[in-house]
């Protein structure tokens, strides 16, 4: 075996072998655990300062047992969900191990190679004690608006130290008391201290809410019965994913993706994945990935593992909240020193972009032989734009940012949805009326892009154009991937429109700025975010004529589009 290859088993097995708990109790424990995670989420959202948390839901809130098995998590940012066991493990290591944990402690941890994220994604971890015994952890990893990187948001870092301040696992609360020295460091190392102070507070409230809720469940049933119920819950979760995998014939499936560039150098960065199905288990092999890059598109191991966990949970387990059991049938292979297993201090600010794309490339691989099992490609990116500046009237600094929704891919089940996120499922799109109140700009249009959908028996969902005119000079960092690799169709379905981002000057000239740091947008100039459409499923000639005509009536597609993709449909107007 190649010693550079790294095999990671995504789920941990049973700890209690013999269980004797009735199914009703198990079900109530399951509901109560999900409700406890949900309470954490609500507490965080209610108290957070920055819209990136309460609107974009750029966080994960979850509960783990002492063995770092995921008990439950709240609907939030899926990509974060599968990284939290790493965060907890490293956070606890950071303070010197379990023996240094006390009731009321809260650890702050954001080292990118342990969280899998950029430093802005900071985790708060709280150990949960029951009758003096360490039984579990509650954890929330959330995106802070700024953590004193070289810019509020960057696409061109060359090492991880440019990306922000690092907290290597230190106690923010010790036995319930705030460690003021640490807190002051947090506030000193950000461009938006009020916002960060508020969000730290909100995260602390969140993990404490989870701690209390979990203790209520455990005290109701007793630790023994609780632990037995947990084993049953994991086993049931495992069965869900295994059942899905069993329906896919054994074999190796190949897929490839492509990053537009690495952020600091010209040229696309292609990568290959291999999906190996064996009976009811799956191996996601990323070891053929290119070497780690000089720019920030490297994806640290925890996020690579999370990608695998999320991709499989989404495919297999619709309608169920994932838990540790879901992850047991999954193994990930990576190679050290590559795009999906970089080594510190490789820059990783844009780690999420290869991760999000990899998810869809797994589907592409399976879809190459079993298209009915997966959807076609979505618009393929979150097209994030971060803005900042100084308000003319008051002189106060401001910053804002948002991911944007894209069209979804068609599948055997029907047309792709319009304007949703693929993996950032719960993110809410900001209202223009609130946006214009908050920031010195005018939103000039938010409109569906005609013809952006990939044609097919079941077409892709439409993308959306968002155009904003700046009323004051503004800086922006843009991260739109997949501007070259169009959203692919499946089973002879056609491609959708690719993403892009443009700077429009007041003379009307247009410049493409899909991945750019600290771009000055002068007063009166506009930024146009072109959010792509989804790929189609099945050959366009199989699409029902009535559906084509209705798409035309709705102005989703033009006459030219019909002539090109559905030439057999004749318009009579």
């Amino acid at each position: 075996m190649n010693k550079d290859l790294h095999h990671y088993k995504c789920g941990i097995d049973r700890k209690v072998q013999k269980t004797d708990v009735d199914p009703i109790t198990t079900q109530i424990v399951r509901n109560s655990l999900n409700s406890a995670a949900e309470q954490m989420k609500r507490a965080l959202c209610r108290t957070a300062m920055s819209p990136i948390i309460y609107e974009v839901l750029d966080f994960a809130a979850a509960i783990y047992d002492r063995d770092l098995r995921m008990l439950s998590q709240a609907p939030s940012l899926p990509l974060f969900m599968g990284t939290l066991n790493f965060c907890i493990e490293e956070a606890v290591k950071g303070v010197g191990g379990e023996e240094n944990l006390y009731e009321g402690d809260i650890i702050i941890y954001n080292s990118p190679y342990g969280t899998g994220s950029h430093p802005q994604d900071a985790a708060l971890v709280m150990p949960v004690f029951f009758e003096g015994e360490l039984i579990a952890y509650t954890a929330i990893k959330a995106h802070w608006l700024d953590i004193a990187g070289k810019e509020p948001y960057s696409t061109d870092t060359v090492d991880v130290f440019q990306e922000g301040t690092v907290y290597p696992g230190v106690k923010l609360y010790s036995k319930g008391n705030l460690v003021n020295d640490i807190f002051k460091m947090c506030i000193a190392n950000t461009r938006v201290p009020n916002s960060v102070a508020g969000d730290i507070n909100a995260q602390a409230i969140g993990v404490r809410t989870g701690e209390r809720a979990l203790k209520r469940v455990v005290s109701k049933y007793g630790l023994k019965k609780f632990r037995e119920a947990v084993e049953e819950i994991f086993d049931a979760g495992e069965k869900i994913v295994r059942k899905y995998l069993k329906d896919i014939p054994n074999g190796e499936y190949f897929g490839s993706g492509q990053m537009d560039n690495n952020g600091v150098e010209e040229g696309s960065v292609p990568f290959d994945v291999k999906v190996l199905i064996k009976d009811d288990s799956v191996v996601l092999d990323m070891s053929e990935a290119p070497p780690q890059q000089n720019g920030p598109i490297n994806c640290p191991l925890p996020s690579t593992v999370s990608t695998a966990r999320v991709a499989m949970s989404m495919l297999a387990g619709s309608n169920e909240a994932p838990n540790e059991g879901f992850f047991r049938p999954i193994e990930v292979i990576t190679k050290k020193g590559t795009l999906f297993h970089p080594l510190s201090p490789a820059p990783c600010f844009l780690y999420g972009w290869p991760a999000l794309q990899a998810m869809e490339v797994f589907y592409k691989a399976l879809g190459s032989k079993h298209p009915e099992k997966v959807p076609a490609s979505s618009g393929g990116c979150i097209n994030a734009v971060v803005y900042w500046g100084q308000k003319k009237l008051t002189g106060e600094p401001w910053a804002d940012g948002s991911p944007h929704p894209i069209g979804q891919g068609g599948s055997v089940h029907g047309d792709g949805a319009t304007c949703l996120h693929h993996a950032e499922s719960a993110t809410r799109f900001a209202p223009t009326e609130v946006w214009e109140n908050r920031n010195p700009w005018l939103v000039t249009r938010v409109e569906l892009i005609q013809d952006s959908c990939g044609a097919g028996k079941n077409r892709g969902g439409l993308g959306v154009n968002i155009e904003i005119e700046m009323l004051e000079d503004t800086f922006a960092t843009t991260v739109c991937e997949r501007t070259e690799l169009e959203p692919w169709g499946l089973n002879e379905g056609r491609e959708g429109l690719a993403n892009n981002c443009f700077l429009i000057n007041d003379d009307g000239t247009k410049k493409s700025i899909p991945k750019a740091t600290r771009v000055l947008i002068k007063k009166g100039n506009k930024v146009l975010i072109q959010n792509g459409g989804g790929g189609g499923y099945g050959h366009p000639s199989e699409r029902q004529k009535e559906k084509v005509l209705d798409d035309y009536k709705q102005e989703y597609i033009s006459k030219e589009y019909i002539n090109k993709y559905y030439p057999e449909v004749v318009l009579n107007d």
């Binding site: 009703i24 029907g414 249009r445 959306v464």
Partner: protein, 690 residues
């Protein structure tokens, strides 16, 4: 003298009337009648019920009306063809919505389909900014073309929602006026006459839904009014609103979406009124019906209202927003008819699917083969098998046994364990809903009294209270017709809401005072149109306040009058306090007012409930029988069965016991103590005797 409340439900139309003693003004007798609901001519069902009751409508001094006609037209998609006119660049707001996917691991998620299709969504140039300043003139050059297209698609109703119209409604008003003048055949709803709150998707959808139901609502209320006059009704009839008040037909017809949740609202209001009568101010109201359970928190006697209401929203769908003041209710798919089922992974679930009225629970013997919560309650003998539905139905015990057996085999449990399991899961679902309105919002359930009503209220309330450590449960008298009682206890109420950002400092006091004053003047003139004199009107002022930079606000009750520095400080102190209660902390940051909320109430005379007569009967005389009842973990116990109608004030008895009348079953657990109050409400203490 009689006071009448009618309630048009999905299946039945209920009528409840109070005979009022002319001297004491007390309700002497409460009676009810039922008829089938008669779509699409709903008013016929109302008059059938009136006929059945035998009352003469000409003697009625008060007529209040609740109806599900609006919500049904929406859920069944039976509204009118509607067109939208909005600001250039924003016609897709209705379709893009907020872009979230609540079922976040579901790649096949389908977005809720907009009520107005894209080809009927049109745009006009013209722009306000967020302060309400015109930055581009409204241009109506294309209006003729728009109307022509609407006509060719048979549009009956037009929704107008322009960007920032909450700050300045001028453009919307000009547009509406022009259409009214030139094309009077259209119904029109502008967003600014519905609400002056920001967030364009929510406001556009609210306007669209209102326009969608307006023709139907107008027609229906007009017909009802004509019929009432035919029967020589002399008073002014009212419609129950979602904000916990009633309003006139005239006002309701303009913006009928305000009655979308009239039914559930009146039950919550009834709980608050019962509380006032017997001196209980902090209440959790719980209404367990056939398909859903609804709960709402009442603090210090005040029913909570908010404008963040969504229809068809659940774990798997984002739903549709209704940005109107609606009583803050959490509703879950868990009622008597909720179906128990076992999934592929051997897990037991209850609801949200319901057996409905037909075939109904297995025990009804109408061919139902899905075990429901009601069947489990019957199997555990909490419900009396020989007095099922007040003796009107022979409970089909054999079928219940058979189908529970099927479930129990899947679960590898005994039959009684399965029945108990169903009740426990149903209770767990309801407990989680109750936590949402209490614990999750910073309220300790121990400080509240649970007032439970509806068909299943008495059956589950006592165990839910134990679970949440709620010390006292009240099962009100007439709990089966409780919503109608609430309707008769309502005042005329209108809510005026306005988003307008002001820093809470001395410099802004002028603007804040002026805004409230303007709103009050507007409210008075609004009522004046319907000849309601300003002396009858009482105002309540609220403001949504937040820490500068935060999104989340709390609504604070404000004093009346003009504010000075001292008042401002008092308001800030109460904000910090209320904020801390809800969010567990407060900050030193500056505070911002984002929304003004004025409640205008015109008081209406109400009936008073009469106390139940005491005959000196002993409590044991109210026992009609004994039977074995299963109390889950406490086992099977021989229990006294009390006749609700024979209970008298000050009677006290202990569980295990069941209290029954023809429509209600109340379960009193071993160790619980039940006391009857002056009005024959049951007070059950759930704290175990030591």
């Amino acid at each position: 003298m009689i006071r009448v409340a009618t309630d048009v439900g999905g299946t039945f139309t209920d009528l409840v009337y109070f005979e009022i003693d002319e001297k004491t003004k007390k309700a002497k007798k409460i009676s009810n009648a039922k008829s089938d609901t008669t779509p699409p001519n709903y008013e016929q069902g109302v008059f059938k019920a009136i006929k059945k009751s035998g009352i003469s409508i000409s003697e009625a001094i008060f007529f209040a009306h609740g109806t599900t006609v609006i919500i049904n037209s929406i859920t069944e998609r039976k509204g009118s063809v509607t067109g939208l006119i909005t600001t250039k660049g924003f016609r897709d707001s209705l379709e893009i919505a907020r872009g979230d996917r609540p079922d976040f691991f579901n790649l096949r998620y389908k977005k809720p389909k907009p009520f107005i299709p894209r080809y009927l969504r049109t745009e006009v140039p013209g722009r306000m900014d967020f302060l309400g300043k015109e930055i581009e003139k409204l241009q109506l050059n294309d209006l003729k073309k728009i109307i022509k297209s609407f006509k060719s698609h048979n549009v009956k109703s037009i929704a107008i929602c322009l960007l920032h119209s909450y700050a300045n409604p001028k453009h919307e008003q000009v547009l509406a006026k022009k259409i009214k003048q030139q094309w009077p055949e259209f119904e029109i709803v502008t967003s600014s006459e519905l609400t002056r709150e920001w967030r364009e998707y929510e406001r556009t959808n609210t306007t669209a839904l209102c326009a969608y139901v307006k023709p139907i609502a107008k027609n229906y209320l007009d017909n009802l009014f004509i019929e009432l006059k035919k029967y020589k009704f002399k008073g002014n009839p009212y419609v129950m609103q979602s904000n916990g008040g009633i309003d006139t037909f005239e006002s309701t017809k303009k913006t009928p979406l305000t009655i979308i949740e009239s039914g559930p609202t009146s039950g919550v209001l009834g709980a608050a009124e019962i509380g006032k009568l017997i001196g209980v101010k902090d209440i959790i109201a719980l209404d367990i019906g056939g398909t859903t359970a609804k709960c709402s928190l009442i603090e210090d006697g005040n029913v909570k209202i908010n404008t963040n209401y969504w229809i068809e929203k659940n774990r798997t769908s984002a739903g549709y927003p209704v940005m109107l003041p609606v009583v803050d209710i959490v509703e879950i798919g868990n009622g008597g008819g909720s179906i128990a089922w076992v999934d592929d992974y051997k897990k037991l679930h209850v609801g949200p699917q319901s057996a409905g009225a037909s075939p109904g629970p297995v025990s009804y013997g109408k061919g139902g083969n899905s075990i429901t919560t009601t069947d489990a309650n019957l199997y555990t003998k909490r419900i009396n098998p020989s007095y099922f539905c007040g003796g009107e139905v022979n409970a089909d015990i054999k079928s219940v046994d058979k189908h529970i057996s099927t479930l129990s085999k899947k679960l590898k449990l005994t039959k009684i364990e399965t029945a108990r399991g169903i009740i426990r899961i149903a209770n767990n679902n309801m407990t989680n809903a109750l936590k949402l309105i209490s614990v999750n919002k910073g309220h300790d359930p121990r400080d509240f009294t649970l007032v439970a009503f509806g068909g299943g209220g008495g059956m589950h309330a006592t165990s839910l209270a134990m679970e949440l450590n709620i010390p006292n449960v009240i099962i009100p008298i007439n709990s089966a017709v409780f919503s109608a009682w609430g309707m008769l206890m309502s005042d005329l109420r209108r809510d005026f809401i306005l988003t307008k950002l002001n820093k809470m400092d001395i410099d802004s006091l002028g603007s804040i005072n002026e805004t409230f004053k303007k709103m009050e003047t507007k409210a008075i003139s609004n009522f004046k149109k319907e000849k309601i004199h300003k002396n009858l009107i009482q105002f309540q002022r609220y403001a949504s306040l937040r820490y500068l930079g935060q999104d989340h606000s709390v609504e604070v009750l404000l004093p009346s009058g003009t504010y000075d520095k001292k008042e401002l400080n008092k308001i800030l102190i109460s904000f910090h306090k209320q904020y801390e209660k809800e969010f567990t902390y407060s900050l030193d940051n500056p505070v911002e007012l984002i929304q003004f909320h004025l409640v205008a109430v015109a008081k209406i005379e109400k009936p008073k409930l009469e106390k139940r007569k005491k005959t000196g009967r002993e409590v044991r005389e109210a026992i009609k029988s004994k039977r074995k009842v299963d109390f889950d973990q406490l086992g099977e116990r021989i229990s006294d069965i009390y006749d609700f109608d024979k209970l008298e004030p000050n009677m006290v008895f202990n569980g295990p016991a069941i209290v029954e009348d023809s429509s209600t079953t109340v379960v009193v657990f071993p160790g619980q103590r039940c006391k009857v109050d002056d009005y024959a409400n049951l007070h059950i203490n759930t704290q175990k005797k030591k």
